[in-house]
C-alpha cells in the first residue's frame, strides 16, 4: 500500500512522522502549485467549493506519482466538506483510476465502515503503546508548526530582515520532518525560539494589528490564498490568525477533547449568530468580536467563493463590523481569483486602517482624554 492524503499547510510534516511508524508507506502529493489547481478545476464539479478542487488535484498528482490508496476524512455536514470524499471517489472512479479510497466517516454513517476505515488508516495497530507515543509526537509537531506560523505572522513587521525570519522558520519546519522523540522536539523548539529572539528588530512599535478569520482551509493554506498574511506582514502589519488545524481536530473529537478557543468564540458570537451553521461560520463571527475587544485595527475574512457557512458569517459580520466599528475585508478565493486584484484590495484596506488609526490618534490629542477609544 502506498497511501496519500490531501495537503493542508504543514499537515504532511505531522503525517510523515505518523505513518512510517504504522508501517504504512506514504506518497505525499507534490506541493500545491498552479498545476495542482488546474487539474482539480478540470475534473471537479464547476460550482464546487475551492478546497474540493485543490484536494482533488492533490490526489491525482499523488496517484501519478505512484499512490494507490487515498486517505480522506468525511463529515456530518451541513458544510460541503463532509461530502468531498464521496464526490472525489466517484470522480476518480469515472476517470478510471484504480485506487482504494479509504474514507473515514462519522460512525453515525455506519460503525462497521468507520472501524474498517480506521483499521486501514492505522495499519491495524491502533492501540499499541508505540502508536500512542507516535500519535502524540506527530500531534505535538503539528501544534508546533502552527506556533511557528504564529511567530512568523507576528514578527514579520518587527524584524529587520523578514527573509531571515523565513529562513529560520522554514529551516525548522524541514528539521521537524526528522524528529523522532518528544525530547528532540523540545530541543528544536528551544533552539528555534532562541534564534527568533535573536533576530535583529526594526524597533517599530506602532504597527497595525489585523486578525484573520474564515474557513479552515483557505484561511490557512498560504499556497492558495495568495499568502495574504505575508502580504500584510510586508506592509508592516502585525497579523494573527484565529484559524487552526489543531483546534479543528480537537473540536472534532469533542466531548473527548475540547477546544477552549472555539467554545469561547462560539459564546462571543451568540448575540449575532445563535447557533452553529456548519464549518467555521460561527468561529469567524466570534473571532472577529474577540479581535475587536482586543483592540485589533481590522479583520480579514478569508473563505472559498460560495462557501455556505462563511456567507452566513459574512452577512452577520456586517452587523458586527458596524457595532464594533471594526473594518472587515471579505476575500472570497477560488480559481478565478487574480493576485493583482487581491493585492490591490489588501493594500487599500491597510491604507484605510492606517488613516483610521492616525485620525483616532489626532482625535485623542485634541480632546486630551482617553475616554474616546
Amino acid at each position: 500500500m502506498r497511501a496519500t492524503f490531501p495537503h493542508l499547510l504543514h499537515l504532511d510534516v505531522a503525517l510523515g512522522i505518523l505513518y512510517p511508524s504504522l508501517g504504512i508507506e506514504i506518497v505525499p502529493p507534490p506541493p500545491i502549485t498552479q498545476k495542482t489547481i488546474e487539474i482539480g478545476v478540470k475534473f471537479a464539479p464547476q460550482n464546487a467549493c475551492f478546497p474540493l478542487k485543490v484536494t482533488l488535484g492533490n490526489f491525482i498528482e499523488a496517484i501519478e506519482r505512484g499512490a494507490d490508496t487515498i486517505f480522506m476524512v468525511g463529515g456530518v455536514g451541513p458544510c460541503r466538506f463532509g461530502y468531498y470524499g464521496q464526490i472525489q471517489r466517484i470522480i476518480l472512479e469515472d476517470l478510471g483510476y484504480r485506487v482504494q479510497f479509504v474514507l473515514l466517516d462519522h460512525p453515525r454513517y455506519g460503525v462497521r465502515s468507520f472501524l474498517s476505515a480506521l483499521r486501514a488508516m492505522t495499519g491495524g495497530r491502533l492501540f499499541l503503546p508505540e502508536i500512542v507515543r507516535v500519535a502524540r509526537l506527530s500531534f505535538a509537531v503539528l501544534r508546533f508548526t502552527e506556533e511557528l506560523e504564529a511567530h512568523r505572522r507576528a514578527l514579520r513587521c518587527q524584524v529587520k530582515d523578514p527573509q531571515e525570519l523565513d529562513r529560520v522558520i522554514d529551516g525548522t519546519i524541514e528539521a521537524l520532518r526528522r524528529v523522532k522523540t518528544l525530547r528532540e522536539l523540545e530541543a528544536l523548539k528551544t533552539s528555534t525560539l532562541e534564534k527568533l529572539d535573536a533576530l535583529p528588530r526594526n524597533g517599530r512599535k506602532d504597527f497595525l494589528k489585523v486578525g484573520i478569520v474564515g474557513e479552515v482551509y483557505i484561511a490557512q493554506e498560504t499556497r492558495v490564498n495568495f499568502n495574504v498574511e505575508k502580504l500584510l506582514g510586508d506592509l508592516g502589519v502585525y497579523v494573527h490568525n484565529s484559524v487552526s488545524t489543531v483546534e479543528y481536530i480537537l473540536h472534532t473529537f469533542r466531548p473527548l477533547t475540547r477546544s477552549r478557543e472555539k467554545l469561547e468564540a462560539w459564546e462571543l458570537a451568540k448575540p449575532y449568530l445563535k447557533r452553529f451553521v456548519g464549518g467555521e461560520g460561527i468561529d469567524s463571527v466570534g473571532s472577529t468580536i474577540r479581535y475587536a475587544r482586543e483592540g485589533f485595527d481590522g479583520v480579514v475574512h478569508l473563505y472559498p467563493f460560495t462557501c455556505m457557512p462563511e456567507i452566513v458569517a459574512k452577512g452577520v459580520l456586517q452587523a458586527v463590523s458596524r457595532d464594533f466599528d471594526l473594518p472587515v475585508l471579505h476575500l472570497a478565493i477560488d480559481e478565478h481569483s487574480g493576485e493583482a486584484g487581491l493585492v490591490t484590495r489588501v493594500e487599500a484596506f491597510v491604507d484605510v486602517l492606517e488613516r483610521r488609526k492616525q485620525e483616532k490618534k489626532r482625535g485623542l490629542k485634541r480632546n486630551g482624554s482617553l475616554s474616546r477609544s
Partner: protein, 332 residues
C-alpha cells in the same frame, strides 16, 4: 397578533403546516405576495452579494413584511429528517434577517426545529417553543400541531398527485397532463416560484411535456432509490432530488424522456449532488438526456428558452434514433 410568513425557501414545503399551526393558535397570518420585481429588488439590495438567489428572494419577502406585521415567522428549520440537515443558509436564516435589516430579536419567531439527533422529539419541542410565544396552554399547542400536521399531510398528498404549490397556495390553474414527461429536479422554492424560475413548468408544458418534480414522488420510493449510494448527503432536500432522479434511472418507463435540473448558481448542496446525479445518469446503459439549468438574478429568459428548446429537440432525436435500444415493455 399579526405574524408574517415570507414567501420563500421552506415556505413551499411547509406552507400548510405553518399557516394552520399559527391560525389554530389564534394568530393572524400574513403571507407576503407572490414574487415580483420590486420584492426581489429589496433582496438584492439588502442581501449579501454572494448569497444564493433563493435566499435573496427570501430576504426580499421578509423586507416587504417589515412594519406590516408584529413578528416575522422564520423558524430555524435545522433539520426535518433524522441524521440530516438543511443547508447552512437555512440554519442561519433568522440571524441573517435580524442582522441585515436590524430587526429586534423578539420580532422574529426563530425557535429551532431540529430532528437531526432526536427525531420526532426535536420536532415537537421546536413547535412547542414556538407555540409558547402565543399561549401557555401546552395542550392547545399539541392540538394545533396535530391539525397542522394533518393539513401538511393533505398538502403533500396533493403535491404527490401532481399539483404544484402554486395550484394549492394561489389557486392557479392546473396544466393538463401530457403523455411525454420530463423529470424536473430542483428545490421546491425554485420549482414553486414561477416568477423566479421564469415559468419553467409552463414552458416545458408548451413544448409538449409534463413535469415530474421530487414533490410528486413518494418519499419511500425516494429513500429506497437513494440506497445505491454508499453515503447519501446530509441535506434532506438535495437527497430527495438525488433519490427522485435515481428512482427513474432503471425504470422502463417509456414516457419519461429526460432530466432537467434547475439549480441556483450558488447553491452549495446542489453543486455536489448535481454532479452525483449527472454521473450516475451517464453510467447507465440507457443514459437519459440531462440538462442543468443554472439560474440567478442575471439569468435571461431568452437564453433559458433556447436551451430548453435545444434540449427538447435532443430528447426527440434520441427517442427516434435509439428507440430500438430501449428495453421493450413486456406484453401484458
Amino acid at each position: 397578533m399579526r405574524v408574517g410568513i415570507p414567501r420563500g425557501l421552506l415556505f413551499y414545503r411547509f406552507f400548510a403546516l405553518w399557516k394552520t399551526f399559527l391560525e389554530e393558535l389564534g394568530v393572524e397570518v400574513v403571507v407576503s405576495p407572490p414574487s415580483n420585481k420590486a420584492i426581489i429588488q429589496h433582496g438584492l439590495v439588502y442581501g449579501v452579494e454572494e448569497i444564493c438567489f433563493p435566499v435573496k428572494v427570501f430576504l426580499g419577502h421578509a423586507y416587504t413584511l417589515l412594519g406590516k406585521v408584529d413578528a416575522l415567522f422564520i423558524p430555524r428549520m435545522v433539520s426535518f429528517h433524522k441524521n440530516e440537515y438543511n443547508c447552512p443558509k437555512i440554519l442561519g436564516l433568522p440571524d441573517l434577517v435580524r442582522n441585515l435589516f436590524q430587526v429586534r430579536s423578539e420580532a422574529i419567531i426563530d425557535e429551532e426545529v431540529n430532528m437531526r439527533d432526536r427525531g420526532i422529539r426535536g420536532w415537537w419541542e421546536g413547535f412547542l417553543a414556538i407555540g409558547r410565544r402565543f399561549t401557555r396552554d401546552d395542550r392547545k399547542i399539541a392540538r394545533a400541531l396535530n391539525r397542522a400536521e394533518k393539513a401538511h399531510r393533505e398538502y403533500r398528498k396533493k403535491l404527490q398527485e401532481g399539483f404544484l404549490p402554486e395550484n394549492l397556495i394561489d389557486h392557479r390553474p392546473v396544466f393538463p397532463r401530457r403523455e411525454k414527461q420530463v423529470v424536473l429536479l430542483g428545490h421546491p422554492y425554485l420549482l414553486g416560484d414561477s416568477y423566479i424560475n421564469m415559468n419553467i413548468v409552463q414552458k416545458i408544458h408548451d413544448l409538449g411535456y409534463s413535469v415530474i418534480t421530487p414533490d410528486m414522488v413518494p418519499e419511500r420510493t425516494i429513500r429506497k432509490a437513494l440506497a445505491i449510494l454508499p453515503k447519501a448527503s446530509f441535506w434532506t432536500i438535495s437527497n430527495e432530488i438525488v433519490g427522485t432522479a435515481f428512482s427513474f434511472l432503471k425504470k422502463e418507463d417509456q414516457n419519461v424522456r429526460g432530466f432537467v435540473h434547475l439549480v441556483s448558481f450558488e447553491c452549495g448542496p446542489d453543486s455536489l449532488v448535481g454532479e452525483v446525479v449527472e454521473r450516475y445518469i451517464k453510467r447507465e446503459k440507457r443514459a437519459f438526456p440531462y440538462l442543468r439549468l443554472e439560474i440567478d438574478e442575471h439569468t435571461g429568459e431568452a437564453g433559458l428558452v433556447t436551451r430548453l428548446e435545444a434540449f427538447v429537440d435532443m430528447m426527440e432525436w434520441r427517442n427516434a434514433h435509439h428507440a430500438s435500444h430501449l428495453p421493450t415493455p413486456s406484453a401484458p
